[in-house]
Symmetry: C2
């Protein structure tokens, strides 16, 4: 069960455990600063498939297979799957998880989807609706470029504020069985729109949503930034990070000492020419799975706030001159002794 805290948060009385997680990334992510942390790094980004979309579906399939394999679980033990991706009509998810034959709640929260999936999964386990659920997301550089910008063959240029969609997927298995990390609370985000219209500056579009969710979390739980060893946003990149630090400061919280951004961590942006950093549903998911979760399990981080951040646009909304609103969902993850 969970208790309603403040305006937007829940605290779980019997906090669900993160029993297993696994991740798989593309070649470029493997060459980045976190390269050694990932479970699987692809030799190329097509993963033996015929299309980029099939490649992305394969990422989800493999991530879930590995997450199950690590704890010797069968797919039949997973009662619900919470998953989503960036593609129109969530097709990477549909074709990725179809063969598992697990009841599916399809999600769309742009790059915040990992937070949404972990939140709903934790709510489900904490309420006793399932022994085990899986939460998963993916993104793929080539399928995202094709959808949101131009096919790769077009070789279009990008401003420095643009981010680089991460090719990767991570799966998390949540349950009541004890492990060394648990989800103790969540803060579900509202859509925040500061009127940004530049789809090549997603960091600026998402930072206000991240600031709102983080400040609401701190207020709802009565915590200071230092009560978290890390506050980790999804994919704001270098441009969005500055805006986030400013906006949270304006609301009375200095998070600069504990803030990290998965988009900044996953690439060496200067060397790898990834602009302002990494982005995509997969960015925060693989960084949590490969990099931060271990530290929580080992107790090197006692309590973190994981805040994937999403930009709510489509090519249609963009071409019709709409703004790019943001949303961010926060998940409190704590070391379990």
């Amino acid at each position: 069960m969970g208790v309603q805290i403040g305006t937007q948060s829940l605290q779980f009385a019997e906090a669900p455990y993160i029993i297993s997680s696994a991740n798989i990334v593309g070649k470029k992510e493997g060459e980045g600063p976190l390269g050694n942390c990932f479970d699987v790094v692809g030799e190329d980004d097509i993963f033996g498939q015929n299309t980029w979309e099939e490649a992305e579906s394969t990422l989800q399939k493999e991530a879930l297979a590995m997450a199950l394999g690590k704890v010797h679980m069968k797919k039949e033990e997973i009662r619900y799957l919470f998953s989503g991706d960036l593609l129109g009509q969530d097709i990477a998810t549909s074709f990725g998880v179809m063969d598992y034959q697990v009841p599916l709640f399809g999600l769309y929260g742009a790059c915040s989807t990992c937070g949404e999936a972990l939140s709903l999964g934790a709510m489900c386990v904490a309420a006793g609706y399932a022994e085990y659920v899986a939460a998963m997301t993916s993104s793929h550089f080539a399928s995202a470029e094709k959808q949101f910008r131009f096919p790769l063959e077009y070789a279009n240029q990008r401003p420095l504020s643009a981010t680089w969609t991460v090719t990767g997927s991570a799966a998390f298995i949540l349950g009541k069985k004890r492990s060394k990390a648990r989800i103790t609370g969540i803060t579900t985000g509202k859509i925040i729109d500061y009127g940004i219209k530049d789809s090549m500056n997603m960091g600026a579009a998402m930072a206000p949503a991240a600031a709102d969710t983080i400040c609401t979390n701190l207020t709802d739980f009565g915590r200071k930034p230092e009560d978290y060893d890390k506050i980790i946003t999804g994919d704001l990149g270098t441009v969005g990070k500055e805006i986030l630090l400013d906006l949270t400061r304006q609301q009375g919280f200095d998070i600069s000492g504990v803030h990290e951004d998965c988009g900044i961590l996953i690439f060496d942006s200067k060397k790898q020419k990834t602009g302002a950093g990494g982005s995509g549903c997969g960015c925060s998911a693989v960084t949590l799975s490969a990099y931060f979760l271990n530290k929580v399990e080992e107790g090197r981080l006692k309590r973190i706030l994981f805040v994937p951040t999403g930009a709510l646009l489509s090519t249609v909304s963009f071409n019709e001159g709409k703004t790019v609103p943001g949303i961010a969902h926060a998940v409190v993850i704590e070391h379990a002794g």
Copy 2:
């Protein structure tokens, strides 16, 4: 709280109530057999906006405003919103609900989304995570044609097996406060793929998923078809209905005496030239809200199984030669005396 029943179902101990619902549809739906039942029928389908997408967002905005208004509730009383639509990246939802500033779980289940939203909303209330939540979906004929087929100006032709996307949205407010209808259980669907590749025959693509979810529900709850006054699929249309009746019969359940399909009910297909019937996220949502829910509230229907059905495709998956898998989520709605 809820109890796990069988392989895919939950039964709610303290079943959440459907406290309010409201619906709004376009001109053609208003001219159909259910025309007198809807809360609002638009004079045209643009609803005072500049684009079809904005028109669809307006449907969501209005539906939720009316659902709140009917029970004199403020938006601040809604703790979570579960909503989705058919457009790429859920933009009808994002721009429709943004102004409400309610924490949002964005969903994608194709035309099954109303079932998904009601399921997650009911789970949330039954677990004590919220006093009130709202579940909502929308679709719009013109925005869907533009996205999945051709812009209206193209005047393309359609086979008789094709369905007509409903222009409409319905919102449901769920909570612990007593009303005359409650959600007593759910059965969450798996993705079912029979290899159909014809995007102009969605009924055939979705019928196997509907059959699977309905038979699973009957098995999980140990019920016969007659234990439901109605088993109501979302938008199978005339072609899909025949397949559904065959497939359920093969699994030992004759549902022909109690089956209804929202897609068949909402249009007079011969007169209105809507092919096999209505479809879209809005189809099942407005038909439940405007037509069936009243009957449950008045006790003329004691127990119904509401099963919105979705076809999981995008133009990209279709053009890449992929199949059109289906998914269906079932919600048990009972009269509360």
